[in-house]
Amino acid sequence: MSGGEAWRGDIQARLDARVRERGYDSLTAFAEARPAVPLHALADELGNDVAAVQVLSGLLAEAEQRQEVTRFVRDVLARMLSQGLSDGWPAVLDDANRFKVAKALGAWSAYTPETHEERAQRVGDALLANPPPAGWRPLGPDDALLRRLLPDDEP
């Protein structure tokens, strides 16, 4: 209830164990099977003692190892957009909708690793300057528009 459970014990070991219990050999595989599902929902599925930011950090660690950080960044954006814009990209960017978009993009850039911060800013600028079609809802990191805005260019 206090939320403190998620921060006791060996966090990495707990994440690994929960993922394995669910039949996946990596956190990435677990998450890939749940594309565009918000991070907090992934955490809830792994247990009340798992926090969304721990899942985020674990996914990033695996992406760093595989040199797929850009893909990870796209993946997180898809999750943030589906969390914040349940009906997809709004048809009209009135004040209320603009705030929803701003909240989702703001959170995404806060969750973006330092290496990708500038690129994330440019993606946000591009989305607002040339809005995607109404109802656009990227279903994962392989969404065509996302890939165009943030192509893989891992060294």
Partner: protein
């Protein structure tokens, strides 16, 4: 407790009690107290799905939140109404012309006691205003967890005002008695009346001062002391009353004594009476429940209205009020019978009827003693090194960032501030303050305008969810 213990039951109880009270005289104190707990009109029958662990219930969650808001607003309104009555009584006391000897409460050294009452009214109004503001903000936010968090923030304010108003109404009773003595009892010296009031004021002082601090823990502790304090106050009242009577009778004023001391206004809430069921008996939290509690309460009933129980249950489930505090209120409601019970606890069935459950207990932040945990330190959710930034976005007064503190265990606190080894990815620091400010500043940039306080809270609430920071806000100035 003994037969001479105070009885608030009649005047405190419910709508049904209206017929028991005295005809309206020049004084309004008793009315004020009745109103404090009165609930007119049937309440919507609501499903009692609780708000869950603060993350918000699904389905009926919104309706549930709306009902909780309504319960809070009703409590606020009633307490406000009581305060208005008290204020009007205070003005009447101030303005009443002297009778024959020129003595009255509204002049000379005694005015300080009227001023004391007026001063209390001021902070209680402030607390209620603040609770109203928070309820309003809660109604505007989309995030369910945040909404419950904001509603729970009204708890200490509401509690302080409710119990403060009760004490203040009692203070007004003493003032009325003193005014009557000054006017009608030549044998009652100024010095004696002055000293009596001073003693009563001193008795109330620590509790009132804790209540007026509006700090979660202090308010709760003070509220729990109120039933006992009311017992002491009733003994004071009875002693002053008895002394005056005997002085007047010795002075050969038997007839006057009867007139003065038995006049309707003196039959105040502190007057010794025997509990009677209200005429239009409201549903009782009654025999069934109480009798089953090992027969302890045999022959007596706790009489409170079904509406009141429902309102309290809702507020307890939402975590706005704690069970111990509601128990204190019930014990005051129930008068002497319940005062005789163990100082803190109501019979289990009564607690159950009020919505007590391990779940609910665990939800209330101030109940960590029961969880067997030491009190975790408080931390600002909105980084205080950016206080000015928040102030510019409306975080002042009731929404000051000091109002948004949460208790976190050391490990939790260190982890979210960049400690521990949980950050598996190297290139994302995940430090709370930086992260929150990045999310806020970026959102503002994208919105193309300054965020409102509501929007800031929504963004922060999402991050709190992601860090599993509980949305149990309390005020604090800690780190």
């Amino acid at each position: 407790m003994r037969a001479d213990a105070l009885l608030l039951a009649m005047a405190l109880l419910t709508t049904g009690c209206a017929s028991v009270t005295q005809p309206s005289g020049p004084f309004a104190g008793s009315d004020a107290r009745q109103r404090l707990w009165r609930h007119a009109g049937p309440r919507d029958d609501a499903t009692l799905a609780g708000p869950g662990n603060g993350a918000g219930a699904v389905g009926g969650g919104e309706r549930n939140a709306a009902l909780t808001r309504q319960a809070i607003l009703e409590s606020i309104d009633e307490t406000k109404g009581s305060l208005e009555d008290i204020q009007s009584t205070l003005s009447k006391l101030r303005e009443r012309a002297p009778v024959f000897n020129g003595r009255r409460l509204g002049s000379g050294v005694f005015t300080r006691y009227l001023d004391h009452g007026a001063g209390q009214v001021t902070w209680m109004r402030g607390a209620l205003g603040s609770a109203t503001t928070l309820t309003g903000v809660a109604s505007e936010v989309g995030d369910a967890g945040l909404q419950w968090g904001l509603l729970r923030m009204t708890g200490p304010r509401l509690q302080a005002a409710m119990f403060g108003t009760l004490l203040l109404a009692t203070w007004v009773d003493f003032l009325q008695l003193s005014d009557a003595l000054l006017r009608e009892c030549p044998m009652c010296s100024d010095e004696k009346v002055f000293a009596d009031l001073h003693r009563v004021q001193t008795l109330m002082e620590p509790t009132l001062s804790d209540l007026s601090a509006l700090d979660t823990e202090r308010v709760e502790a003070a509220a729990l002391e109120v039933p006992q304090l009311m017992g002491k106050l009733s003994r004071e009242f009875n002693a002053i009353h008895a002394n005056a009577r005997s002085a007047m009778e010795q002075g050969g004023k038997v007839g006057v004594a009867a007139q003065v001391l038995e006049m309707p206004a003196m039959l105040s809430t502190l007057k010794l009476t025997t509990p009677r069921p209200p005429a239009s008996a409201p549903a009782t939290l009654g025999e069934g429940l109480v009798m089953s509690a090992g027969g302890v309460m045999a022959g007596s009933r706790i009489v409170v209205s079904a509406e009141w129980v429902e309102m309290m249950r809702r507020l307890v489930q939402a975590g706005v009020l704690s069970i111990p505090v509601v128990s204190a209120a019930v014990r005051i409601h129930g008068g002497q019978v319940l005062m005789a019970q163990a100082p803190r606890d109501l019979p289990g069935d009564v607690r159950e009827a009020l919505g007590d459950s391990p779940e609910v207990r665990g939800m209330h932040v101030t109940n960590k003693a029961k969880a067997g945990m030491p009190e975790a330190p408080k931390h600002h959710v909105l980084p205080k090194e950016h206080r000015e930034w928040f102030e510019q976005r409306g975080f002042t007064g009731d929404l000051d960032i000091d109002q948004f503190c949460v208790r976190l265990e050391q490990a939790h606190h260190e982890a979210i501030h960049g400690g521990g080894n949980w950050r598996l990815g190297r290139t994302w620091p995940g430090e709370w303050n930086q992260l929150v400010m990045r999310a806020l500043r970026n959102a503002e940039l994208r919105a193309g305008r300054m965020l409102t306080s509501r929007e800031v809270l929504e963004i922060v609430a999402e991050r709190m969810t992601d860090y599993r920071v509980p949305m149990n806000f309390s005020s604090g100035r800690g780190p």
